[in-house]
């Protein structure tokens, strides 16, 4: 147990180092983008103003407010102090909203969309893959090519296909937004119904892709496990097939759990694109708008949240893994 604890402290240390570097990059990279975001805001506010001194005054006021006139290191120190207090500052592009406010509005949309989608895709994919390995024959022959085909779709491609087929042609679902744009968010039945309807296309376009990838992985793992020596031995000791299948699937699942951690990582990458395609009010759309508006604080905070989520998911998986696979635990405790 002592070795095990040491392993986790060590791991935690590494996660901390990763976090520090990610934090630094999150701060620096957006600020290396060419262009002056304050100028863009001022241009927006100063529309129609002809007094150049006035424009200059507004500009300086904003520069002072956002602190962009200070050297980068000083900005970083201020940023660090503020973040420690949970203050991410003002959003440049959506001023006067604060970053925390913007993120609070979008983060839950993303989590509510992506997390269930990834879990559902993972569960269905693994079940189908395991069945394909066990049943073989026709089921396998149909499922496999289909999975390979589907898993190689980029998320935005799938999103566009869904939009064209179910949104534009069949008109089953609305093509954009998280709820009807004539509604105000509330706990009314009408609003919830609208959310559910808007949820379907982004959800399934992510699920379908996840199913493909997971099914392929699970199938090959399960085939490998089904031919393992312990399966033969268990059979010859008279253990019934249903029980052996239980052994096999548990063992074949183990690498798939890593797959799950990775998909939580890709929640950031590909799947956010699907959000943008559907103009879903989640982190993806927010991030896109932040990048277009050179909104440093918002970019930094969004990517920071994503980083923390990925690190956290990986850390949880790492701990879980030791508990479900004694082989990993033995190595970890070494």
């Amino acid at each position: 147990m002592k070795g095990y604890l040491r392993y986790f402290l060590n791991k935690l240390g590494w996660f901390a180092i990763t976090f520090v570097f990610a934090f630094l990059l999150n701060f620096i990279l957006p600020r290396l983008m060419p262009g002056d975001p304050v100028a863009a805001i001022v241009a927006r506010f100063a529309q129609g103003m002809s007094n150049s001194t006035g424009v200059q005054a507004i500009y300086e006021q904003y520069v002072e407010l956002f602190g962009t006139n200070k050297p980068m290191w000083e900005q970083f120190v201020i940023y660090l102090q503020n973040v420690a207090k949970g203050d991410f500052g003002f959003s440049f592009s959506q001023y006067p909203r604060t970053v925390a406010d913007v993120l609070k509005a979008s983060l839950w949309w993303t989590i509510a969309l992506q997390f269930p989608a990834i879990i559902v895709g993972w569960l269905i994919g693994n079940t189908l893959g395991a069945l394909a390995a066990y049943l073989k024959g026709g089921f396998d022959k149909v499922l496999m090519p289909l999975s390979i085909f589907v898993s190689n779709f980029p998320p935005f491609g799938m999103a566009v296909i869904f939009m064209v087929v179910f949104g534009v042609n069949l008109k089953w679902f609305p093509t954009s937004g998280g709820y009807g744009f004539d509604l105000i968010p509330s706990f009314s039945w009408q609003f919830i119904q609208s959310v559910i309807i808007h949820y379907q296309m982004p959800f399934w376009s992510i699920v379908i892709i996840a199913i493909g990838g997971q099914a392929i992985g699970m199938r090959s793992m399960a085939i490998y496990e089904l031919n393992a020596d312990y399966v033969k031995y268990s059979r010859f000791m008279g253990i019934k097939d249903s029980k052996i299948v239980g052994y096999v699937f548990r063992n074949a699942m183990l690498p798939q759990i890593t797959g799950l951690a990775l998909s939580i990582g890709t929640m950031v990458g590909g799947a956010l694109v699907a959000e943008i395609v559907f103009s879903y009010p989640g982190l993806g759309t927010t991030l896109l708008r932040a990048v277009l508006g050179q909104d440093y604080p918002l970019i930094s905070a969004s990517t920071l949240i994503i980083t923390v989520m990925v690190l956290f998911a990986n850390f949880i998986i790492e701990i879980l893994y030791g508990f479900i696979d004694p082989r990993i635990k033995a190595v970890q405790a070494d």
Binding site: Y230, Y233, S234, R235, M237, G238, K240, K243, Y247
Partner: protein
């Protein structure tokens, strides 16, 4: 007169490959093992030893398929039984198996005791976990294995320990026949000795009534078993008491097999190491005549067309060759003289 624990009559099994080809891996094998006796099966890789071991269990799953013949275990003919009945009442209880790769024979994510619970509960519906633990503990202690092993995962055991654990699990239900498929070939010499000692102990203590030991290491067989059977291309080519089989083989293949092994035993040390040229026949299309004909030094034209059956050669020995024993012995003597 001791009871016959295992009797096999003309058993044939085949593999059906992915491309729907039949591979006739075991061809009309007959054998009998009496109570308190052990039989060794020897032969080169791919001769059908392991397939025979699997076939003897009477429980077939793809790619192995039963073709014909009978298996009688302790008076029960299991050949006509339903697979599920074989599984419940025969496997583990009447006949048990120690796999070739005992290293990987245990589910890596299941504690030893939990696997033992699974095995026993499959056969004894009313067994409680507490009883099972007590039984397992007693058995492990009798066999010189620490009881702590029960609470461990396979990964926490050394290779030799894993092997002995598998053996202990195999004999949990005191089977009449134990089939050990190269149980020691992946171990170092010390662990090998412990495994052999354990198997002998099982016989002496009456935990198993008879044993079949499969190996390609003949000297090992000679030390462990009473009788030896040599297999070639899915058939028995010679069978007899172990001492005679090792020191005085009749069949040209057995002779070659003994000569192709480095043996530290007294009396065999002087035998010159020779390889048998050629390769075994393709069992997808077994030859019509003698299966060893292509590699035999004494081959005659009729060997290639005549289906040779086993012929008796006194004191319970039998060999599969068209040449009479005397003629073969004469030929060996001539070869010896030439050297």
């Amino acid at each position: 007169m001791a009871n016959t624990m295992l009797e096999v009559k003309e058993l044939s099994t085949k593999y059906i490959t992915r491309f729907r080809e039949d591979v006739y891996a075991v061809d009309r094998v007959s054998l009998a093992v009496k109570e308190g006796r052990s039989l060794g099966i020897a032969g080169e890789s791919g001769c059908g030893k392991s397939t025979l071991a699997l076939s003897l269990m009477g429980y077939y799953f793809p790619p192995l398929h039963y073709t014909s013949g009978e298996i009688i275990i302790n008076g029960k003919n299991i050949s006509g039984m339903k697979p599920d009945d074989v599984r419940k009442s025969i496997l583990g209880r009447e006949i048990a198996y120690i796999p070739q790769a005992a290293m990987n024979a245990l589910n890596p994510t299941r504690k030893i005791i939990h696997f033992i619970e699974d095995v026993i509960m499959e056969h004894e519906v009313y067994a409680t976990k507490k009883d099972i633990y007590e039984r397992a503990k007693k058995l492990f202690e009798t066999l010189g294995l620490p009881a702590e092993v029960l609470q461990k995962y396979p990964v926490e055991l050394s290779g030799g320990m894993k092997q002995r654990t598998v053996i202990a699990i195999s004999v949990l239900l005191l089977p009449k026949v134990l089939i050990a498929d190269e149980p020691s070939s992946a171990l170092d010499v010390t662990s090998q000795k412990m495994v052999i000692k354990m198997l002998r102990h099982l016989m002496e203590a009456g935990m198993i009534s008879s044993m079949i030991f499969i190996t390609h290491e003949l000297p090992l067989l000679y030390n462990v078993v009473d009788d030896i059977m040599v297999m070639y291309a899915g058939q028995i080519v010679e069978t007899g008491a172990s001492r005679e089989m090792v020191f005085d083989p009749i069949h040209p293949y057995s002779k070659g097999l003994m000569g192709s092994i480095i043996v530290p035993e007294q009396g065999l040390r002087d035998v010159k190491l020779t390889a048998i040229p050629g390769v075994p026949p393709n069992l997808k299309k077994p030859p019509a005549g003698c299966r060893f004909a292509e590699r035999c030094r004494f081959v005659r034209p009729e060997c290639l067309v005549t289906n040779v059956s086993l012929r008796q050669a006194g004191d319970g020995r039998a060999y599969r060759c068209i040449l009479p024993e005397a003629e073969l012995r004469e030929a060996y003597a001539r070869e010896e003289h030439k050297k």
